[in-house]
């Protein structure tokens, strides 16, 4: 099947800002949730849902769709927002996040919301699931691809490395994983909590093709997805270097904003900053 043409980069950057605003609004309304990792993963998701992935929001069960497996379930506000804006469900529903009766559970539940490929929330499990889907695709001689997003802190989990071995053992080149390398987890910097570096060397030594990108540079992210598709005989890991809480100055690089929702004035301040984003960029462009 023909792949989508590259969307306009400026347009995607603007969309990313809109997604961040929606995340802040929904977390503000919920009064609970995880802004840090949601904000850091926006471009990673945008690159998939607006460009790379073959999917149809009107047909979430389409057998030939590419699969996106969210492994770090707590950043679902970002995924829900992207899905709503792509047309999987009405945007107004975002405001039901984490409320009783909502399809938007605090951590995703696939039986409630069409378009979610799995239920997740307990860390370390997604890559194994993605492996299973990639093996199934191969058995069925299907050409759909499987994408999986992990948190960097999440790779503390031993199961991730069990899965990493399986992906490379079975040479699953129809699988591409991304680590949102925002360098923070709840208890602080990843390197203080449990050393992860060298992330690149670790994945290379496990038999993966590794690409490092600025995870907020949408062009680099899209280039990486394209490169991954061309790699044969081994899986690809994209290490996306990001900033936790990206886009909201008082949240950026702060572990405290891992799992606390903004309230009152903080919401207004965050939205005000994000509202300024396009005009600020235009200003720089005009100056440059």
């Amino acid at each position: 099947m023909e792949r989508k043409k590259r969307p306009d980069i400026k347009g995607l950057e603007k969309e990313a800002t809109e997604i961040r605003k929606d995340i802040i609004k929904m977390l503000g309304e919920a009064g609970t949730g995880h802004p840090g990792g949601s904000l850091s993963s926006v471009e990673i998701l945008t690159g998939l849902y607006y460009y790379k992935m073959r999917h149809d929001p009107k047909k979430p069960d389409w057998p030939d769709r590419d699969r996106f497996i969210l492994s770090k379930g707590h950043i679902c506000p970002a995924l829900y927002t992207v899905m709503a804006r792509c047309g999987y469900f009405p945007k107004e529903e975002l405001m039901t996040l984490r409320k009783l009766g909502s399809r938007l559970q605090g951590h995703p539940h696939m039986l409630y919301l069409p378009g979610l490929e799995t239920s997740c929330g307990s860390l370390g499990q997604g890559l194994s699931i993605a492996n299973g889907i990639a093996l199934g695709a191969r058995m069925d001689k299907k050409d759909y691809r499987v994408y999986c997003l992990l948190g960097d802190g999440e790779t503390d989990e031993g199961q991730v490395w069990e899965a990493a071995m399986t992906t490379s053992h079975y040479k699953l080149d129809n699988l591409c994983a991304v680590i949102d390398r925002n360098r923070l987890q709840i208890d602080g910097f990843t390197e203080d909590v449990m050393k992860l570096e060298s992330v690149r060397e670790r994945w290379v030594s496990f038999g993966w093709h590794v690409i490092e990108v600025d995870g907020h540079n949408i062009k680099e992210v899209m280039d990486a997805y394209d490169e991954a598709e061309k790699i044969k005989g081994k899986p690809t890991m994209i290490i996306a270097h990001t900033i936790k809480g990206k886009g909201v100055s008082f949240m950026e690089d702060k572990a405290e904003w891992h799992g606390v929702a903004p309230k009152g004035e903080q919401i207004e301040l965050a939205l005000k900053e994000l509202n300024m984003k396009p005009s600020k960029e235009q200003l720089e462009e005009a100056e440059g």
């Binding site: 499990q125 699931i129 990639a134 399986t166």
Partner: protein, 313 residues
């Protein structure tokens, strides 16, 4: 009476091979124990549908989950202790929460595993599995019943746990003995007491019932192979008809099979109960026969429990 002796794991292995022939959706995953779980038989015949995951139970369960999401019917197998304990969170959050179509074969259930000792004798999986929403739990009484349970599991939608043992045990059912999931099988009628058992303990219960008959005590024997969903009707009927129940399991009493029966009894028709099972201790090394005696699981222990309970009626 002499019985043919056969291990329940053999029934599992034979059913997988049959499923391999009849159901192209069935795939099997192993964690380096393909021989002792008898999944090697499937692997040999259907190498393209067998996935070796290595000694990585958590990864195996979630890889199976992924395969199920593509329409496959995965059977994963390893020892019951490892699959139910080490991968419990994967079974809970990924498989049961989303009601994924993953079948779990738990080998080496009970102390009758023998000399390997406590680390390899699963005594907790019934409790660990039955507490999970959407999970079905089957503990077949012999090899033919394990075969039928495995075939049935492939037909059902959603997660199923099947427990089987290591040693050869008496074959007490026939090829044409009906197996209805969720329906208890009455193997012997009686009016003084009901012996409700699962797995190998059905045989011990039948032996006990023979001995009790000599003492003019009429014992009903129920093979309650499906622990979840449990056959409430059969349990209530047994309680009403006999007025006393002894449950028999090769598993911890706490949270296990007897507890599951007691939940039904207490809420519907409280009658005196006794539990034959593991009394809050770990297993030991020894021969299976020695261990069945050491842990008070044999027919003489059942008889003792019956004699005591009859005084309370």
């Amino acid at each position: 009476m002499r019985f043919e002796m056969k291990a329940t794991r053999d029934g599992y292995g034979e059913a997988l091979v049959e499923l391999g022939k009849t159901n192209p959706k069935v795939v099997v995953l192993g964690a380096d124990l393909t021989d002792s779980t008898r999944t090697g038989w499937f692997a040999k015949e259907f190498p393209d549908r067998f996935f070796e995951i290595g000694i990585a139970e958590q990864d195996m369960l979630n890889t199976a989950a992924g395969l199920s999401l593509t329409g496959k019917i995965p059977f994963v197998s390893t020892y019951g202790v490892f699959v139910s304990g080490r991968a419990w969170d994967q079974i809970r959050t990924t498989i049961c929460y989303a009601n994924l179509n993953v079948k779990i074969g738990g080998a080496h259930g009970g102390v009758s595993v023998g000399p390997d000792g406590a680390t390899h004798q699963a005594l907790e999986e019934i409790a660990l599995m039955r507490v999970l929403p959407n999970m079905k739990v089957i503990v077949p009484c012999d090899a033919p019943e394990t075969y039928k349970a495995t075939m049935k599991a492939a037909e059902l939608k959603g997660p199923v746990y099947i427990r089987f043992g290591r040693e050869k045990i008496a074959v007490i059912t026939k090829k044409d003995t009906p197996f209805n999931l969720g329906k208890a099988a009455t193997f012997r009628e009686g009016k003084d007491v009901s012996l409700i058992a699962c797995g190998y303990m059905v045989y011990e219960a039948l032996k006990a019932a023979d001995e009790l008959e000599k003492k003019k005590i009429s014992a009903k024997v129920i093979n309650l192979h499906t622990i979840k969903p449990i056959d409430k009707e059969a349990i209530i009927k047994a309680a009403k008809e006999t007025g006393a129940i002894v449950t028999c399991e090769e598993h911890q009493i706490m949270g296990g099979f007897g507890s599951a029966v007691a939940e039904v009894v207490v809420e519907n028709c409280a009658v005196p109960m006794r539990f034959i099972g593991i009394q809050d201790r770990f297993g030991e090394s020894g021969t299976p026969e020695e261990l069945i005696k050491e842990f008070n699981l044999d027919s003489s222990d059942i008889i003792k429990a019956v004699e005591e309970i009859l005084k309370r009626k």
